[in-house]
């Protein structure tokens, strides 16, 4: 199946980003296609490369960047990113900043859009 994923919460405060990550990873392992992951609302904060948790904790940002290396497209909404100070200067590897047109396209072309929010 062809999935698109929408992440609406930032890292750590909510589980949404963790759940979305595990979903994407499991879907890929089962041979499904991930058209892309779109970050909206506080979800854009997952793209902050300054995220630096304690050693014994998961690095939510880096996990996404690692998925990007495997070819998963990570798209950050520009309007909500600007509101939260996420720009190209602090954008983590593998993420790109774009508009809601990308989410629209993902929603149309995927079989399912799966949302992870509060």
């Amino acid at each position: 199946m062809k999935f698109a994923v929408l992440v609406q919460e930032g890292p750590y405060q909510h589980q949404s980003s963790d759940s979305a990550y595990h979903f994407v990873k499991a879907a890929l392992e089962k041979g499904h296609e991930i058209m892309g992951v779109f970050f909206y609302n506080d979800g854009v904060l997952n793209a902050n490369k300054l995220i630096d948790p304690q050693q014994d904790d998961r690095n939510v940002q880096k996990r996404w960047s690692d998925l990007a290396e495997k070819g998963v497209e990570l798209v950050v909404c520009i309007a909500t990113a600007k509101r939260r100070g996420i720009n190209d200067d602090i954008l983590a590897p593998g993420f790109k900043i774009s508009g809601l047109g990308q989410l629209t396209e993902m929603a149309i072309e995927s079989d399912r859009l799966v949302t992870f929010g509060a």
């Binding site: 909206y40 609302n41 508009g99 809601l100 989410l103 859009l113 509060a118």
Partner: protein, 114 residues
């Protein structure tokens, strides 16, 4: 379909939800909105948000018509519980009940909750 579930101020979900509705409206999609739970407050008319220092965005819902977004639905129970009627709202959505809502959602290709 976009589902507005939360109160208008206190979190940014309804406001950024509305922003995404307006932008997706420009892509000529078949868009509908469902207001449920505290989301019904986003349509309340006569709100004064000046003490919050946040712009009152409820009147913006009146502009949806200009984007050809005419399919607005509101949960009757959510209105009743809050002592509200359609007369309290800036727009006039279609009243739906708990039996119609799952059917409406079933009809959608994509559902985005806020």
């Amino acid at each position: 379909m976009f589902i507005m579930r939360k109160a208008p101020y206190g979190t940014i979900y309804p406001f950024e939800g509305l922003e995404s509705v307006l932008i997706m409206g420009a892509y000529e999609q078949d868009i509908s909105l469902l207001f449920i739970d505290d989301g019904v407050y986003t349509l309340r008319k006569g709100m004064d948000t000046s003490a919050l220092g946040i712009k009152n965005f409820s009147p913006t819902f009146k502009a949806l018509e200009g984007y050809d977004i005419n399919k607005l639905y509101i949960d009757k129970d959510s209105l009743d519980i809050r002592g509200m009627t359609l007369d309290d709202l800036v727009v006039q959505p279609e009243l739906v009940d708990e039996e119609m809502i799952p059917e409406l959602i079933e009809e959608q290709d994509v559902v985005i909750p806020f």
